[in-house]
């Protein structure tokens, strides 16, 4: 992309006032959260004190980075209605599964991070492997977020790349270093609403422009997507559909391996639930998040489709008319000053939400799982609190450095998917076997995780090197995740019988059927109400996801 002059928005003083108010508020939240931090658990897990609606909205917001919004609108314009698979089958079932089935083990065992679960369930090598790969992934992804932020700010506002990177990084750095996870989570909740306030006007005016939903459907039929752009499942018996994906790939690749890998083992997400005030709130966290997730395609896929039919020439390989610019182009064409300022603020908010999630996940794992477990043990709690603040600074500085690694990839979303398929799929396999098969040994855990990761990493490198061929990056990530999962299962099955199992009492609270999980012990008045039942809420969310498919089948 050159200087992006064609995308430049006509921001006036009032738009900048709206943006400035947001920056001030976000920093204020960070400073105000400071007084609630005295111990390291206050800093890294908000003292396990937050109500479910706060952690739930933070859970969805942590995933609602601008990469997600811009990338999903781009997918909407490129693939049409099939993009909803990323939400309804590719997110909601996994979120519900996390809340109902896995959260009792995470929250009940009082582990402070996802890697720490592996330390208790398996052994220290497994733990260290996962802690290191998670830490690396988080700073890489934080860098991707930062780079994307800078590109958009450069294109939309004409800010130089470095200004945008430094301003974005400095604000996130400030509110997490000062306010800890509470600062991050509170801002994520705020960001959730600001993002919606920015996206809803674009969607509404876009729909008015194309003559409502029926007008949009007619226009999509006449576009290059054609009728196929309005259907999620049609023609998935073959790969002759816009996404180029077979239904088996959608259900098992996206719906099972990729999505369960991401949502159930990604500490940047799970951390939000661990900060909830009790078991019931922790279990409801991802399930409450599933409800907004059900509706987010309305404000990402619809603008993508509107951009497809109203912006002539959208879908260029490079320049201003790339799919990734779908939402910025609509903002430029449709929003007057005022809501324009809110929309720009919403985009910025989503960049910060995504990056803050990575940074707060990183600083916790770095401090508890690397520094405390392997480098400096038995220091005071204040010491680790200080390390956590320094780790935050380190993460942001490295993130700035890695921002430029992202530059070489055309579709940022696929790059993220590829990273997740390398790290998350084998991790999920190791978790799910370890959680349900008490016989699985510590060594089996280590080798499952290591070999699974190596398989998906080598497939990714072979594909990038041109040795193995796939139709798209997306197809590669389906296969990479699937193979990694299968490898982990096979390795666990082979090594377990050959090695010594852990004693039963070491597995209490960590493995299904071993006891030690107390779902009701810390229950608060009101949590017994039927509408706070995690199982009921989860079943309704999954049923809604299935129902939502009917109009776009």
């Amino acid at each position: 992309m050159d200087d992006g002059g064609g995308l430049r928005l006509n921001m006036n003083g009032l738009d900048y006032l709206i943006l400035a108010l947001y920056f001030v508020t976000v920093l204020g939240v960070g400073f105000a959260a400071r007084r609630a931090i005295r111990t390291s658990v206050d800093f890294f897990l908000s003292g396990r004190s937050l109500p479910a609606w706060v952690t739930g909205l933070a859970f969805v917001s942590a995933n609602l980075g601008a990469l997600e919004i811009i990338g999903m609108a781009a997918n909407g314009a490129q693939y049409g209605a099939m993009t909803v698979h990323y939400y309804w089958i590719g997110a909601v079932p996994a979120m519900v599964f996390l809340g109902i089935v896995m959260m009792p083990f995470y929250y009940g065992s009082k582990v402070r991070s996802v890697p720490e679960y592996l330390r208790l369930r398996f052994n220290r090598p497994t733990h260290l492997l996962n802690a290191l790969s998670f830490a690396v992934a988080q700073v890489l992804i934080a860098g991707v977020n930062l780079y994307a932020l800078a590109l958009v700010m450069q294109a939309l506002l004409g800010w130089p790349l470095w200004t945008a990177i430094v301003v974005g990084a400095a604000i996130v750095l400030a509110y997490i270093t000062i306010g800890g996870l509470s600062g991050a989570i509170y801002n994520e909740v705020l960001q959730f609403f600001v993002i919606l306030a920015g996206l809803i006007p674009v969607t509404v005016i876009g729909l008015v422009k194309v003559g409502g939903v029926s007008g949009l459907m007619d226009a999509v039929r006449d576009s290059k997507l054609g009728e196929a752009g309005l259907h999620a499942w049609q023609d998935t018996g073959t790969t002759a559909n816009p996404l180029g994906a077979h239904w088996i790939g959608i259900v098992f690749g996206l719906g099972f391996v990729l999505s369960f890998g991401y949502w159930t083992t990604n500490f940047a997400e799970v951390q939000r639930a661990l900060s909830a005030k009790n078991m019931s709130a922790a279990r409801r966290t991802p399930i409450i998040a599933a409800y907004p997730k059900l509706f987010i395609p309305l404000v990402t896929v619809i603008p993508g489709l509107v951009a497809l039919v109203t912006v002539k020439g959208l879908g260029a390989e490079s320049g201003d008319l790339q799919y990734n610019n779908a939402i910025p182009l609509l903002m430029r064409d449709l929003l007057p000053n005022g809501v324009l300022g809110v929309a720009v603020t919403g985009l910025l908010a989503s960049f910060m939400a995504g990056m803050a999630a990575n940074v707060s996940g990183f600083n916790t794992v770095f401090t508890y799982d690397i520094w405390q477990a392997y480098i400096r043990r038995d220091r005071s709690d204040e010491y680790y609190l200080r390390i956590g603040r320094w780790a935050t600074v380190g993460a942001v500085v490295i993130g700035i450095g890695t921002a430029f690694i992202a530059a070489g990839f055309s579709n940022i979303m696929n790059y993220i998917q590829a990273l997740f398929s390398v790290f998350n799929a084998p991790l999920f396999a190791t978790f799910i076997i370890g959680m349900f098969w008490k016989r699985m040994t510590a060594l089996a855990g280590f080798w499952s995780l290591l070999l699974g990761t190596l398989v998906s990493l080598s497939l990714y490198l072979l594909y990038k090197g041109g040795v193995v061929h796939f139709n798209s990056d997306l197809e590669e990530s389906f296969w990479g995740a699937g193979l990694a999962f299968a490898t982990a299962v096979v390795v666990a099955a082979i090594i377990t019988p050959l090695t010594a199992p852990k004693r039963d009492e070491e597995l209490r609270g960590l493995v299904y059927g071993m006891g030690g999980v107390d779902l009701k012990g810390d229950v608060l008045a009101g949590d017994a109400a039927w509408y706070r039942s995690p199982v009921l809420l989860g079943v309704i969310a999954v049923a809604l996801a299935a129902l939502f498919y009917i109009p776009v089948f």
């Binding site: 070491e506 030690g516 012990g521």
Partner: protein
């Protein structure tokens, strides 16, 4: 379900649990106040912009007075957050119900 016994013990986790008795988390403010405040401010600013919108701005938005509508909705949402907080303040710090007296 199975409810016998405590989860497996671990020195690092126990230490952190022990330290947590000093926690200051109860001093955390209520986020609804901040969300409400920011959205009331946004609502007022954008509604005012909407009241004085020129023809050109309304035409840009396909004839919709989007600033006015978006401003009023944000104002209402901000007031709702403040009202919610006022009517149902944050629940007091969790009473210790570790042992429900059974």
């Amino acid at each position: 379900m199975d409810n016998q016994g405590q989860p497996a013990q671990d020195p690092l986790i126990d230490e952190a649990q022990e330290e947590q008795r000093r926690s200051a988390a109860a001093r955390l403010f209520d986020i609804r106040r901040v969300i409400g405040g920011l959205f009331v401010a946004y609502g007022v600013i954008v509604t005012l912009i909407g009241v004085f919108d020129s023809r050109a701005e309304i035409d840009k938005a396909e004839g919709v007075r989007i600033n006015l509508w978006a401003g009023l909705v944000m104002l209402a949402f901000g007031l709702f957050m403040l009202l919610w907080q006022w009517l149902r303040p944050a629940e007091p710090p969790a009473p210790n119900e570790k042992d429900p007296g059974s």
